[in-house]
C-alpha cells in the first residue's frame, strides 16, 4: 500500500476496527456492533484530537506488533494499562505520542482488562458500510473486509502526518468492583420470585466462554417459571438472557435481534463498558435500579464522555529511553 497506513506485522487475533456502532439497520437484521468499551474508545480519540465516535482498532488482551508507515502519526492506546513501546520509547497507555516513519509499535498486555483501543489522529481511511466502520464479523461487514485483522494487513490512515501541538494525557479510568446495576425485564415474569432474588443477591463469575457477542456467567441455577422458550423478540447489549441450563448470558455489542430466551434483566449502559472489561473469573454481583435512576446514570455517562476533551492534561516529561537501544 502506498498511502499512509499501519502495517499489521504480528497482530493478535480478534483485532477489529470499531466505532460507536451502526445505527438504524437492526430492522433489517444488522447488528449495531461497535466498541466493547465505548468510553475508552472516546478517550483514545480525545487524546489524538478525533471526534469521540471515530473508528479505532480494538484489540483483546494485547495488540501485537505494528509498523507506522506514514510521514508521522499521532496515536494513543487506552482501555487499560497496556505495556506499549514505540520505537525505543515506552508508550504509556492513556497518553498520546507521535511516531516517525517506519517506527515499530508493540502493544503488550495489560494486567487488568480485556479490551484496548488504538486511535490515530485523523482516523482510519476505510469506506463505511451502512453508515459505520464497526466490524461485525458474523455478518462480514465493516472494518477491513468485514473480518479481524490478519498479519500483513495494511490499515489505511486518513492523515499523512501528525498534527502539531503538545502530547496529551488522561487520568487512567479507575475500575471499581461495585455490583452491576440492572433494570429488571423485559421477561422477569418468566422467572420464579426465588430466581429473581437469587439473581440480585448471588455471586456469579465470568466464564472463559465470552466474546463480542456475549459473556456467559457461572453461578446458581436460575429457575424459569414458564419454560425457557419465548417467541424470539428484540434484544440489546446488556440483556441478561437465561437459556434452559439456568446460567445467564449477558449479550454484548455484536448481538442482534431477535433472541429466543427469556431476559431476566438488562445491565444499564453506564455499567456495560465496565462489565465488558471484566476478565474471565471475575466475580460479579447485580443490583436492581429503577428505570429513572438508570436513565439518570446514562445522562451522567454522556456528560462524562462529552467532558473528555476538557480533562486532557499536558503529557508528562519525555518518557525514558529503553536501555540497550
Amino acid at each position: 500500500m502506498n498511502g499512509p497506513h499501519l502495517l499489521a506485522v504480528a497482530p493478535t487475533p480478534f483485532i477489529t476496527v470499531q466505532d460507536t456502532g451502526r445505527r438504524g439497520w437492526q430492522r433489517f437484521g444488522v447488528s449495531a456492533a461497535g466498541a466493547m468499551d465505548i468510553e475508552s474508545l472516546a478517550a483514545a480519540n480525545a487524546l489524538v484530537g478525533n471526534p469521540p465516535d471515530s473508528p479505532a482498532l480494538e484489540f483483546a488482551y494485547a495488540g501485537g506488533e505494528w509498523q507506522v508507515n506514514a510521514d508521522s502519526c499521532r496515536l494513543a492506546v487506552t482501555g487499560g494499562a497496556f505495556r506499549c513501546r514505540l520505537g525505543d520509547r515506552v508508550l504509556e497507555a492513556w497518553h498520546s505520542a507521535t511516531a516517525h516513519r517506519g517506527e515499530p509499535l508493540t502493544i503488550g498486555s495489560a494486567p487488568d482488562v480485556v479490551w484496548g483501543y488504538l486511535a490515530v489522529a485523523g482516523g482510519i481511511a476505510l469506506p463505511d458500510q451502512l453508515g459505520s466502520l464497526a466490524t461485525h464479523t458474523g455478518s462480514g461487514i465493516g472494518g477491513l473486509h468485514g473480518r479481524a485483522i490478519l498479519p500483513g494487513d495494511a490499515v489505511p490512515l486518513a492523515a499523512r502526518r501528525a498534527p502539531g501541538g503538545d502530547e496529551r494525557a488522561l487520568a487512567p479510568r479507575t475500575r471499581c468492583s461495585k455490583p452491576f446495576r440492572v433494570v429488571l425485564g423485559p421477561q422477569d415474569d418468566f422467572f420464579t420470585a426465588e430466581a429473581i432474588e437469587l439473581f440480585l443477591s448471588a455471586e456469579f463469575s465470568i466464564s472463559p466462554r465470552f466474546d463480542r457477542l456475549g459473556y456467559r456467567l457461572v453461578g446458581p441455577v436460575l429457575d424459569h417459571a414458564k419454560g425457557f422458550n419465548i417467541i424470539s423478540d428484540g434484544v440489546v447489549p446488556g440483556c441478561v438472557q437465561v437459556p434452559g441450563d439456568g446460567q445467564p448470558i449477558v449479550l454484548m455489542r455484536d448481538c442482534q435481534p431477535p433472541g429466543g430466551y427469556p431476559k431476566i434483566a438488562t445491565v444499564v449502559t453506564a455499567d456495560l463498558d465496565r462489565l465488558a472489561q471484566s476478565r474471565a473469573g471475575t466475580v460479579v454481583h447485580f443490583r436492581q435500579v429503577g428505570i429513572v435512576e438508570a436513565q439518570l446514570l446514562r445522562r451522567r455517562l454522556l456528560a462524562r464522555m462529552a467532558d473528555l476533551p476538557n480533562r486532557l492534561m499536558a503529557a508528562g516529561p519525555r518518557q525514558p529511553t529503553l536501555a540497550g537501544r
Binding site: V236, G290, Q295
Partner: protein, 261 residues
C-alpha cells in the same frame, strides 16, 4: 433501598393486557402485542413501526420488528421511558387498525432438491408426502415477511402451511449457504448469508438477499409478500450467472397500498 424509578411499574400497562411496554435497560423498550406467531399480531407490530416512523419523535434512535413485538431503541437524554410510553400510547390510541403496509409481491425461483445439501427427500418422508407434493405445497403458499432478523437481510416468513410444520434438525449444520430455502417449526425463510442453522433445506434460490455494496443492500422489507416457484438446474444456473454479474434476478410487483386484512 428504594430507587427513584420504582414509582413506575416494570410492565406499565401489563395488567390490562396487550399492548404492553417492557424496558430493556435504559435505552430500549419492547412493545408487545401478543404471545403468538400470528399474522394479525404481526400486522399490528408493522403498523406501529410505520406510524412511529411517520411521527418523527425526537430521541428515537431506531426500531426493529419481530414476530409479535416492536423493539424501540431511544436516547433517554432526549426522551424518558415515561414520555416515550406516553407518545406510544397516543399513537396506539389513534385507532391504528391492523393493516397490511404498502406491500410488494415477490416471486422467488427455487431449485428444489438437487445436488448439494438439501433435506427435501428426508423432509418429504417425515411428512408422509412425495417430494413433488412437498414442492407443490411449499410453492403453492403465500408468505409474508414478518420481520428481518437473525442475519442481515434474512426474511422470516409467516404463512407456511401446517402440513409442512416439523421441528428443527437435531444437529444444526455448521454452515448453510446464502440462498438456501429453509423451513423449521412453523416458519419459513431464505438465507441471506452463509451461517450455521438447524433448519431444513428444501432447495436454493439464485438470488442475492444482502449486498452491502449496494445503496439499498436488502432485497426484502418487513411486510413484503413472497411466493416461490420451482425451476430446473439449467434455469438455476442461468439466473445464478445473472446474479453473479450483479444484475437483478427478480423484481417486486406492487400490490394495493394499505389494504385491510
Amino acid at each position: 433501598m428504594t430507587s427513584p424509578g420504582e414509582a413506575l411499574p416494570t410492565h406499565a400497562y401489563g395488567a390490562r393486557g396487550y399492548p404492553r411496554f417492557m424496558p430493556l435497560g435504559d435505552t430500549a423498550l419492547t412493545v408487545e402485542f401478543g404471545d403468538a406467531i400470528d399474522p394479525a399480531i404481526n400486522a399490528e407490530v408493522i403498523a406501529l413501526e410505520i406510524a412511529l416512523a411517520a411521527a418523527e419523535i425526537p430521541g428515537i434512535v431506531e426500531t426493529a420488528p419481530s414476530y409479535r413485538s416492536l423493539l424501540v431503541c431511544y436516547e433517554p437524554a432526549e426522551i424518558s421511558f415515561g414520555a416515550l410510553i406516553e407518545q406510544l400510547r397516543r399513537l396506539l390510541g389513534q385507532a391504528l387498525r391492523p393493516y397490511a403496509p404498502p406491500a410488494r409481491q415477490w416471486f422467488v425461483p427455487v431449485r428444489y432438491g438437487g445436488v448439494g445439501d438439501t433435506d427435501l427427500e428426508w423432509v418429504a418422508e417425515r411428512l408422509g408426502r412425495s417430494p413433488a407434493e412437498l414442492i407443490a405445497i411449499h410453492s403453492g403458499a403465500e408468505y409474508t415477511v414478518y420481520f428481518m432478523g437473525f442475519a442481515p437481510g434474512l426474511p422470516n416468513l409467516g404463512g407456511l402451511p401446517s402440513a409442512l410444520h416439523l421441528p428443527r434438525r437435531r444437529q444444526p449444520r455448521p454452515s448453510i449457504p446464502a440462498g438456501a430455502v429453509v423451513i423449521a417449526g412453523g416458519q419459513a425463510a431464505v438465507h441471506s448469508i452463509a451461517r450455521p442453522s438447524g433448519w431444513h433445506i428444501l432447495g436454493h434460490a439464485p438470488i442475492r438477499l444482502f449486498d452491502p455494496s449496494q445503496e439499498d443492500p436488502f432485497l426484502f422489507r418487513p411486510g413484503d409478500l413472497v411466493s416461490f416457484y420451482p425451476i430446473d438446474a439449467r434455469e438455476f444456473d442461468r439466473l445464478a450467472a445473472r446474479r453473479d454479474r450483479g444484475e437483478p434476478v427478480i423484481l417486486p410487483e406492487p400490490t394495493l397500498p394499505g389494504q385491510e386484512i
